[in-house]
């Protein structure tokens, strides 16, 4: 807030800005351009959802009446209770699994660490619908293991929980790996020297250092689950949750105001965990000192063996789910006729969009990766490395953090309300592939922005000052130095945008048209229509494409490292 006041030059808050270079005026114009883009495609749609929530279906202002009406229904509270139940249960199950896995990866000498790490991240390549489909094949009415959940018991609470555990595991794992890899070896040495045994060391050194990571991981899992409607839609059966309720209101009953109200309610846990996380992040930083000695794990046969056993078990679970979905795609009639077939990939003869959906998805992911990377890096560069237009740069920083707190479902709803309005001059993008690209870029903006900012911050802050003293305009330095040095991060951001756009359903589900139908949406629609095998086929196709793209980017990154070895060496 103060920063905005300063940027506006409000008397009393005005911070003296260094004199601005002529070349920086270009930066000012660009910064305003980026800020306005983010305003139009991120902030305003969110305002629109708020506006929709306080107007009725005829467009009249009704204030909080709809909130009151919805809160009055027992149906609503039932959905809230169900949503809470699956979210909390998923978090309780994911956390210990991810903690064990992260500990094994960071604190032991277990063999095959890169392999396990790769396996654990596989769920990121798949839409959240995939585990649901796999569970149907495993434990459903025709499932091979249906005895484990008799009488269709998988359709409901446990089905959702298992699917969500699969879907959220890598997210929790990545946070915990980060938290556990910042150990200070000196603390462990001091504790051992003072006679603390392994248990005491766990409770006095390890857990206190990792507690912010644990809380953060728990919040992320909780939020991901409560706003996800992919898994409950496929495997939830009659078990009603909030996210599906919002989806049904908008898609099924065209009741936009009611959808908006539920969307806003879903925003609450997301915003709450975002704020808690932001506060914790600040504290976490204080724990680390520059003089910390990295902890180098020592081989311990028993610990390493048990870790490997645990990681193998968890990886096997993940592989079972993804493998089932892929296998089902290639099997004639599960489980009666196990002959291999490609018939399920004959998408054009099924409902859901056919091969067009897959082509659209490729197009969307490609354009999102390109446009998103350009926008994110330009915005991050302007915000971090230039001086012109302080207000615009402040707005970029502010807007960039927004998507983190906004579930895709809510963003998608905001997009309909904002762009569907015929009075909106931006209405022209409605129903095109462009709006899907814009929505995807906005949806995944924060993570990409943070990656870019981290990379930019690693550069010497004096580069720009040196260039200015040498009378070289900023864009020359950006092109000749900043961009080449940040290239690995650029590739990472592009990869992230591509895979995310390929797998997402939540935001785009509200925005596609028959011409712009997407692969992930097709999975949902084919599953809805009863073509579960085809849905599995499309899901497998998405996983395969994502994996291939990840490999390609990995290869590119490796080649780049090799070419730039001379100057990257430290």
């Amino acid at each position: 807030m103060i920063a905005v006041l300063q940027a506006l030059g409000v008397p009393g808050f005005a911070a003296a800005q260094p004199p601005v270079e002529r070349s920086q005026r270009v930066a000012g114009v660009l910064a305003w351009g980026a800020a306005l883009l983010l305003l139009a495609f991120l902030a305003l749609p969110l305002v629109a959802i708020l506006g929709k929530a306080v107007t009725n279906q005829q467009g009249g202002f009704v204030g909080i009446d709809q909130f009151v009406e919805i809160a009055g229904g027992a149906h609503f509270w039932h959905a809230v209770a169900n949503s809470m139940a699956v979210s909390v249960t998923s978090a309780i199950i994911v956390l210990p699994l991810a903690y064990v896995f992260a500990t094994a990866l960071t604190r032991t000498c277990m063999p095959l660490k890169p392999l396990f790490r790769g396996l654990a991240l596989i769920p990121l390549l798949a839409p959240s619908l995939l585990p649901g489909i796999a569970l149907v094949y495993l434990f459903g009415n025709q499932g091979v293991l249906k005895g484990w959940f008799p009488d269709g018991g998988i359709y409901g609470f446990w089905g959702i929980v298992i699917a969500e555990v699969f879907y959220t595991f890598p997210h929790a794992l990545m946070i915990l790996i980060t938290a556990l890899s910042v150990a200070d070896a000196r603390l462990y040495e001091a504790a051992s020297a003072l006679g603390a045994g392994p248990v005491r060391r766990l409770f006095t050194v390890t857990l206190p250092a990792a507690r912010y990571g644990l809380i953060s991981a728990a919040l992320v899992v909780f939020t991901l689950v409560i706003v996800d409607f992919g898994a409950p839609k496929v495997i939830g059966g009659q078990y009603n949750v909030l996210a599906v309720e919002a989806y049904k209101q908008v898609i099924g009953q065209q009741n936009f105001p009611k959808g908006a109200v539920i969307g806003l309610l879903l925003l609450l846990p997301a915003v709450f965990s975002f704020i808690v996380d932001a506060v914790l992040q600040k504290r976490q930083r204080a724990l680390l000192t520059a003089r910390a000695q990295p902890l180098v794990p020592q081989p311990q046969r028993w610990v390493d063996g048990l870790s490997m056993l645990a990681c193998s078990a968890i990886s096997a679970g993940l592989l079972l789910i993804i493998g089932t979905a892929i296998a089902a795609a290639f099997i004639k009639l599960w489980p009666y006729n196990l002959a291999p077939t490609l018939a399920h990939f004959d998408f054009d003869n099924m409902d859901g969009g056919g091969w067009l959906a897959f082509r659209n998805s490729l197009k969307l992911a490609g354009i999102t990766a390109l446009a998103g990377t350009v926008l994110v890096f330009t915005g991050a560069y302007l915000a971090e490395k230039t001086q012109a237009a302080p207000l615009a740069r402040q707005l970029i920083r502010l807007f960039a953090m927004l998507p983190m707190a906004v579930p895709g479902l809510v963003l998608g709803l905001g997009y309909i309300f904002f762009f569907n309005d015929p009075h909106n001059p931006l209405h022209v993008v409605y129903g095109t592939l462009a709006i899907l690209v814009l929505c995807s870029v906005a949806h995944f903006y924060t993570t990409a922005h943070l990656t870019a900012v981290t990379a930019l911050k690693q550069l010497d802050g004096e580069f720009e000052a040196v260039a200015a003293s040498l009378k070289v305009p900023f864009w020359t330095t950006a092109w000749r130095v900043t961009l080449p040095v940040c290239l690995p991060a650029v590739l990472e951001v592009a990869r992230y945008f591509f895979v995310s756009a390929m797998t997402t359903v939540s935001a785009v589900i509200f925005l596609y048209t028959p011409d712009t139908v997407l692969a992930s949406v097709a999975v949902l629609n084919m599953d809805d229509a009863g073509d579960t095998a085809a849905a599995a086929g499309m899901a497998a196709l998405i996983v395969g494409t994502s994996a291939l793209v990840c490999l390609l980017f990995g290869l590119l990154s490796w080649l780049l490292q090799r070419r730039t070895q001379a100057w990257r060496r430290r």
Partner: protein, 380 residues
Amino acid sequence: MKADFPVSTTTATELLRVDGIAKRFGEFSALSGIDLTVRKGEFLCLLGPSGCGKTTLLRIIAGLEVPTAGSLQLNQRDVTRLPPSERDYGIVFQSYALFPNLNVADNIAYGLKGRREDKLRRVNELLDLIGLAGIDAKFPAQLSGGQQQRVALARALATSPGLLLLDEPLSALDARVREHLRREIKALQQKLGVTTIMVTHDQEEALTMADRIVVMNHGVIEQVGTPEEIYAQPASRFVADFVGQSNWIDATFSAEAGVQVNQLGIALQTLPALAVGQRELSLFIRPEDIELHAHWEGGAMGEANTALGDIEKIELLGGFYRLGINVPLWGNLRLNVDVSRSTYQRMRLSPERRVPLTLPADKLRAFSKADAAFGAKALA
């Protein structure tokens, strides 16, 4: 008085004029009332402890910070509000800020314009100048710290700027390289005659390299002078303490008795003019200025600033010995005295020896005890 012609205080030899520069960060005042002129071709050091405002002043001169008040004139041109590129200087940062993905030649040529051959010639010229010919194809990460430092210097000098700014350029290097580079930078500066302002917290660096030193503390200038002036005639308690080693002796002053230590008269060559009315004084003398005598040379104890002292501690500090001597006559005063190794051996000094010593009247300086700043003004 009436001036018949416009009085110009600027002279042809003046390159930079800093007029009443102040900088506030919220409530905190980083700089206040800084007045300074920098002459063409001189090597000026801004010296002070961390947080004294020396780097802020350099960044203001560079146009990277804007002052809250005051003005800057470079070549008789007001540059206070001009961006860095419209000033005329080269800068070397503590981190060197060499572009990691460009090789040495490209780094040095970064600010050069014109034809390729001209650039190449200039780069080779500079590489010769810094004594690193032949490393043009290497990347910064392949160079040693000292080499990186010199490349950064070459890059800053490439466009032949009128002013060279150095922000703690040697502090990231180890002691031996630092000493070597000190001489080299100084020689280079003299050869090119480029006006240079260097920020440093290392007094030795300032004393060996600078033509003039600006000692700063808490955002104000404590003293401006040649290294000799700064060392031998510190204008304030702070300067005396910050630069070199010092002994502080509690003393009193009265009109009748003059300056007294433990109620014995002490002679000072320069009596503080404003010390009248000041009851409490601090006398200052450098450890190497105290004279030791082999024998008592007659006269009463305490006369001619001479007394007997007991050697209590001996430390060998490389080229010289530092003795801790207790003088009972002046109220068990503890003095640090530096003697060369040869003097130490000739006088056969050893622990628990009693030795006559003199505080030369011309080396003693008096400061007000209560207020260091007042003392500085009084004695200036």
